[in-house]
Amino acid sequence: MKKAFKILIIVVCFVFIFTNLTYAANIGNVSPKVDKNGYYTITTTSELNLTGTTTIQLTFSFAKDIVTKKSLEKNGKIVSATIISNNNVLKITPLKKLDSNCTYTIKLITKSYKKYLINIKSKAVVNKTVSPTATPTTVSPTTVSPTTDIKPTDSTPTSGPTSTVTALTQDDDGCYILSSTEYLNTSGETLITLPIDFADGTIDTITIDKDGEIVPADMEINLSTLKIDMTPYRFLTDGGKYTIRIFTLDGKKYKLELYAYNVKAIDFTKYNIYKIAPNPEKGFNYAYYLYVPAYSNDSEYKRLVVETNNPGIATDSIDYFQDMALNTISWGLGKFAADGISSPLLVPAFPRPRIENLYTHALTRPVMDIGGGDMKRLDLQLIAMIDDAQETLKTNGLTLEKKVFMVGFSASACFSDNFIALHPDKVKAVYSGGFDILPTSTYEGCELKFPFGVSDISKYTGKPFDVDEYKKVAQFHFHGDQDMNDLNDLKPGIDGVTQSDCDAMNKIFPVQRFPDKWNKKQEIINKLGFGDSIQFHTYKGIGHAYGYNFFSDEITFFRANNTDKIVKIDATEDAN
């Protein structure tokens, strides 16, 4: 019995020895140890065919430890190729012709996460033609970036992945420091090219934080591309510093610090639309869009056009107003004006929640009276956006005049006209469809409170109505002759209208409809002495909609009123 037991032990031991040493023996031409990056190096005398399939016989077999990830690389960059591995045979078929007489690297990762690296030369071409990899004498050292460092005359095989890996420094926490000159977009997707590759199956997880706080973002790494998706409606902070931390399955940590920007560098040869993230610290709680026409930096008219948003519906979704602002900036009245004078355009994405009598887009009294929360003082938020946009443009080489051009229609005309009464010093000229706020505190014995008049405007501005500044604003107000959509169909309780507002309006405008009310307004303006700066116009053949001729008239109007002089234009009679 004892003897049998001893024999059993011997047999078991031999089995152990045999399988393990056979394993070791199977590794054959494989280096016994891994390099700094965890790769076993396999040497081979085979050469890669420039086209077609190359078959390489290995001196060992992967057997059950099958290859799960494979890649062909040259100087750290992936070269498209199909690689098939089966036991001890590797077949490589590149998609495009390979460069001749170069060193390529095949990288393999097996099921058990063993990593192999094969350095293999591509075949030399028989007819000696000047290879593109010959030393270019005209390349200046400064144009070669560190990650694509090409040594044209050096064909010694590299022993690992990109040679820059060995240059990574570590911080006190043992984190490898990655660096990049790229930046994050404040919304939507950003693709960052990392200075090193992370092969499939090596990433453990990734985080992004600002000042130690996790920032929610969808992220993914494919080799050297890091994709960060904020979604279009969530934002990073402009100018904020973010740290991306990459954790790999071999226990290493990497960190990359990047800044986020709304706009980094404007290419004035292109038409650009930028989405600017909300910036409560700068005074605006909603996003805005900024349209920068091509060559606007060369324009004769360096003045921001502003058109507030008015998609016409109320919804509790904030995201909606961003999409609609993009629509407006892409094809509204403002866009045509901006193109016509080759100057940037700003469209805010102000909300309009499903709350009765809170018509934010018309800047009504209840809206101005909002005492707290994100929607407080949308007029001041618009000013903050204007300042921000002008600052951004200035940083990028385009300095604009301080005063803006405004465009409005229907509710957004209410907004622009009310805005001008509140902040006349901010606006140079306005082209708006409609006119409601009268630049007076009383008329015909009736007190006119905001937004019917300016008797109580100091409660918002802290000072009395600035008549002088108001007279400096060139105003063009129009109305379609078939437009019956009079927003001042007044009822107490609707949009903050009081009984005394109604009484005043009914007294001053006995007939509340077009053309009577429109004509009376002109009369009032002239009587009050504002006739020089305010032009009224009726377009023929149009209801509550845009006419084709509006676009040319607004451009003519703005071009004529870019200086201190106020000019009345010869507007088109017909709307179309």
């Binding site: 011997i10 031999f14 070791a24 891994v34 997880t205 226990g251 016409g312 995201d319 909606y320």
Partner: protein
């Protein structure tokens, strides 16, 4: 020591050494190991989740806390307080999908756990005494890329009659890529405001019938605005779209239906395989067109505000070929199968128009492309009411399809769903429940 024993000892030692040596090679490229964390609580696909960890990690400082699915990191706010992990994803997670939460401490300890996301949220709290509203997140692996609402009227289990789930496709007044907006609009349809908004009155009728109501949250995309994105009207272009999100919404709604039916089954609400469909305006187009694509799954249809015309179960009319969505000539191109007229004939249909309805979807270029417009004008008339409406009805008169289709015109009614209409629809569904 005896020589034999020395040999034995030598062999054993060599064996151990060999094993050890070969393992050493493995160590250099080994994978970090995670401690599997036991947890209680579920990861919700919609809204916040609170998960209790089996370990109190209060005194740890964290290098990373992340939410992962396959090789992707999912945007979420994650925080640990004591042994409570709170997760707030930015967007809805896929429902019934396996997510992994990873925790890496500064001291190098790693913890992880896998969890299957809970697709059902009753966070859509309603104060309505007559129903219970759920939201179910998207399940791409099950065939639908968008969430849906499921409304369950109270007292449903008291009624033991045969029940068919009702389906009302959503109709967003305006357009936006954002789920938030389209969900906001769908919510208006699914409870209370259906009639006053752009809904078909499904909320009211489903409550009358004491049957569940499914409202999908399909988007009406704004940034790629074209006939292809008018999925809420089930336009031809939208069904042929290659956009991965909005592809084949007819199949997506079927997947939602099946998913909802499975869920109802688990809470002991038995519904038949076929569904009731209800639509108005854009959703009248969706439902009415759906009947020719998948007639086998519809029991009864009520649709109104149809722009004075409807999809005919005919390949041609008066010598004009009728391709989808005007007719069924080329259904095979759209769904890969021929028109199933036998199943279609079994559907009871109530189609209605308001006498003074002036909302003409046929004249809207984005919803009705020029070629379709022209065909409709030529065959049925440019004037919607009463011409086009009367002429379209004429097309099915005397055919085998006429019997199952009931038409009504409501005098003095414009483009809206009135109480008379919801009463009539309720009665129609009940009459054809057998």
């Amino acid at each position: 020591m005896k020589f034999k024993n020395k040999i034995l000892a030598f062999i054993v030692i060599t064996a151990l050494f060999a094993t050890f040596a070969s393992n050493t090679y493995a160590i250099n490229s080994s994978v970090v190991s995670y401690a599997d964390l036991k947890v209680t609580g579920t990861l919700n696909a919609i809204g916040e989740s609170t998960i209790t960890l089996s370990q109190n990690l209060e005194n740890e400082k964290f290098d990373a806390i992340s939410l992962n699915i396959e090789n992707k990191i999912v945007g979420a706010k994650l925080s640990i307080s004591g042994n409570i992990l709170t997760v707030n994803p930015t967007d809805y997670l896929d429902g019934d999908a396996t997510y992994t939460i990873k925790i890496i401490t500064k001291s190098g300890k790693r913890y992880s756990f896998k969890t299957i996301s809970n697709s059902i949220s009753d966070a859509v709290k309603t104060n309505y005494p007559d129903c219970y509203l759920l939201e179910v997140s998207q399940k791409p692996q099950k065939g639908f890329n968008y969430p849906y609402f499921l409304l369950i009227p109270n007292g449903i289990t008291n009624n033991t009659d045969k029940k068919y789930m009702m389906v009302e496709p959503n109709n967003s007044q305006s357009m936006s890529d954002s789920l938030e907006y389209n969900e906001d609009e769908a919510k208006e349809i699914v409870y209370a405001h259906g009639i006053l908004h752009s809904g078909a009155g499904g909320y009211i009728v489903a409550n009358n019938l004491k049957t569940p109501l499914l409202v999908p949250i399909f988007p009406r995309l704004s940034t790629k605005w074209s006939p292809q994105t008018e999925i809420q009207s089930l336009t031809r272009a939208s069904l042929l779209s290659n956009d991965p999100g909005i592809q084949r919404v007819d199949l997506q709604i079927i997947a939602m239906i099946k998913d909802a039916q499975q869920y109802l089954n688990t809470i002991k609400i038995k519904v038949e395989d076929k569904v009731l469909m209800i639509g108005f305006s854009a959703s009248s187009k969706f439902t009415q067109r759906f009947t020719v694509l998948h007639p086998d799954i519809i029991k009864t249809l009520c649709a109104g505000g149809l722009a004075g015309t409807f999809t005919l179960p005919l390949k041609s009319y008066k010598g004009t070929t009728l391709n989808y969505p005007l007719g069924v000539n080329d259904i095979k191109t759209i769904i890969g199968a021929n028109f199933d007229s036998e199943s279609y004939k079994k559907i009871s249909q109530f189609l209605y128009m308001g006498e003074v309805d002036d909302n003409d979807g046929v004249s809207m270029g984005n919803i009705t492309p020029p070629e379709e417009q022209q065909t409709v004008y030529n065959l049925f008339g440019q004037r919607m009411m009463p011409d086009r409406w009367n002429n379209t009805q004429q097309a099915i008169r005397g055919t085998e399809f006429e019997k199952a289709i009931q038409i009504k015109t409501y005098s003095g009614v414009g483009h809206m769903v009135t109480q008379d209409i919801t009463n009539d629809m309720t009665a129609f569904f009940i009459a054809h429940m057998g």
